[in-house]
């Protein structure tokens, strides 16, 4: 076994994702504690062309394989597992993203390594340990790894991406892992989202409705408030999944990332997947009936109470 940290990077249409660099930054911290190096895996059709982007790593392991077209839910975990077997890292970091969800568990199963998911922090100074967000952010758990190797699936925001962009040797190594790919999952191509009526990433004020808004009819009141403030209405995922607002209004992991001047969250619990898309807003105001709601952990201002009591009062003041 080496003392190294292996970061499984991800990319979409030739562009490494931000979280890949966050994990390299985290990996550098862990490698310093372990006395090892940071290796990154870049796998995919055309991966070699991206190798020079990973100057934050000591070694860039490239698997450029035409069979790994786009993201391959069957191929990528197999390649990652083969690279783990070949390089024997102590720590493997996988982004807890749509791609990482297909990779992390299979990688752990194939290599027989323990896996810790939902990590917001990973430590290596005194044995391997992590802090995880469970129950949609309502509980934080400190966990320890019993052996000396593990795979961690890490949430976005664990370390600043800027710290993972440079500072390593960036030595590129092409690896041929020769995995056999059964080809049971075939990529047919990506679809970009349709442009919406409103660009929520360009607003100064967002009035954001969560499941607490209860029905499609109640959204009108939020619209009125947003309009009075010169902003727009955005939403959490369940509101969009119900079909009450279009997908282009969704904030979060699978929606959009927004940084308005004011983010007024009405009946949004603050699950990690939502917070990912809004935590950098300049002023976050949260309204929720549940004093334990995790949204109060990222908000700058909070009020515990019923949004239906508050909104008319707000409208009255803002409109006058």
């Amino acid at each position: 076994m080496s003392d190294n940290v292996l970061v499984i990077t991800e990319h979409l249409e030739g562009e490494p994702t931000e979280i890949s660099f966050e994990l390299i930054a985290l990996g550098r911290r862990l490698a310093a504690d372990l006395g090892g190096q940071v290796e990154v895996l870049v796998a995919g059709d055309g991966a070699a062309a991206m190798a020079d982007r990973f100057g934050g790593a000591d070694t860039v392991l490239v698997v450029d394989d035409a069979r790994l077209d786009g993201f391959d839910p069957e191929g990528h975990p197999r390649v990652a597992a083969a690279v783990v077997e070949a390089r024997n890292p102590k720590v493997v970091l996988v982004p807890y993203t749509s791609e990482g969800m297909d990779v992390a568990s299979e990688l752990a199963a194939r290599t027989d390594l323990p896996l810790v998911s939902y990590c917001k922090d990973v430590r290596a100074a005194d044995g391997l340990a992590a802090t995880c967000q469970l129950y949609a952010g309502k509980i934080e758990a400190d966990v320890e790894v019993e052996g000396d190797r593990a795979v961690f699936a890490v949430l976005s925001g664990a370390a600043p991406a800027a710290d993972g962009m440079s500072g390593g040797a960036g030595a590129v190594e092409t690896v041929d892992v020769g995995v056999d790919l059964p080809g049971r999952v075939q990529a047919l191509g990506f679809t970009q989202p349709e442009a919406g009526d409103v660009d929520i990433t360009a607003q100064d004020v967002l009035v954001v409705v969560g499941r607490g808004i209860e029905s499609e009819d109640n959204i009108a009141e939020a619209e009125e408030l947003a309009e009075a403030l010169g902003g727009a209405v955005a939403a959490s995922r369940p509101v969009v999944d119900q079909g009450w607002l279009p997908k282009t209004r969704q904030v979060g992991k699978s929606g959009l990332t927004v940084k308005p001047k004011v983010y007024l969250a009405l009946g949004v619990s603050g699950a990690p997947e939502h917070v990912e898309g809004m935590r950098d807003a300049a002023t976050i105001i949260a309204v929720n009936t549940d004093p334990q709601a995790p949204i109060f952990g990222v908000a700058h201002y909070g009020w515990v109470g019923d949004l239906f009591d508050l909104v008319p009062e707000l409208l009255e003041r803002v409109e006058s």
Partner: protein, 254 residues
């Protein structure tokens, strides 16, 4: 086509969570459980496929909470053809143990498609969908937001981020982790659930919980301090509205 849907009870997210005395788990004595919301979407997607193709839908749950019977009867009332409860009084199980038990039970059933939710709130050691696929050596796709049966398999849409999706053609049998069904999960009248309960078509199988795999140990759980770092506004809605308007003014937007 035979579709198996894995349903998992999770602590009710609207209830206040409390910790056990040793602080390494939830205090589960008085905890209410509900169906994991993403599993509800998995069930809905299965029922849509049944509407379209006449597929047979079976639902499976582990006996990890008292509410499991209710969850399974609700699925029958919604249109599932069979419901099977695996074990009883199993206590809380980690996702690896859950996946092992599901994979053991489904191995002989040989469904064409296994659906479950993309994640569950208590999944510390892995994605159940992917772990079941790994155990049965089946292909998997996580974060699925739509399916369409086609010749020789199924077409699925996987969500990436920023609204970007990818389409895949997957050979059957396969396991899918459902993020959201094409339509919002259907409701079912309580009377229909009660009727299903009276009919009592619940298959039950004995299973033994596997020894917890060594590897990861929870040393401490915490309920993050509410409003840590946030300035909490006191008072009624009028006071709150005054305070918020003042904050908006300072931010230059009102």
């Amino acid at each position: 086509m035979k579709i198996a849907v894995l349903l998992r009870p999770v602590p009710d997210p609207v209830e206040e969570l409390e910790l056990s005395d040793d602080g390494t788990d939830l205090d589960r004595d008085f905890l209410g459980y509900v169906l994991n919301e993403f599993d509800d979407h998995a069930l809905e997607e299965a029922l849509l496929l049944k509407d379209e193709t006449g597929a047979e839908v079976s639902v499976w749950a582990l006996g990890t909470a008292d509410e499991v019977d209710q969850i399974l009867y609700t699925a029958l009332a919604k249109g599932a053809d069979r419901a099977c409860k695996l074990g009883d009084d199993l206590g809380a199980l980690d996702s690896r143990a859950q996946a092992t038990l599901f994979a053991d039970a489904l191995g002989d059933e040989a469904p064409d498609l296994i659906l479950t939710g993309v994640q569950a709130a208590d999944e510390l050691v892995g994605q159940v969908a992917v772990l079941v696929a790994s155990a049965l050596d089946l292909p998997h796709v996580e974060v699925v937001v739509g399916t369409e049966p086609v010749d020789g398999g199924i077409r699925v849409t996987k969500e990436f981020w920023g609204g970007i999706t990818g389409d895949y053609q997957v050979a059957l049998p396969a396991v899918l982790g459902i993020q959201a069904a094409r339509e919002a999960p259907r409701y079912v009248a309580v009377s229909r659930v009660r009727q299903a309960q009276q009919e009592g078509n619940l298959e039950e199988r004995d299973v033994t919980a596997p020894e917890p795999a060594p590897g990861v140990k929870v040393v401490e759980m915490r309920i993050p301090e509410a409003g840590e770092g946030a300035e909490m506004i006191e008072g009624d809605e009028a006071a709150a509205a005054d305070a918020i308007v003042e904050i908006l003014r300072r931010a230059g937007v009102a």
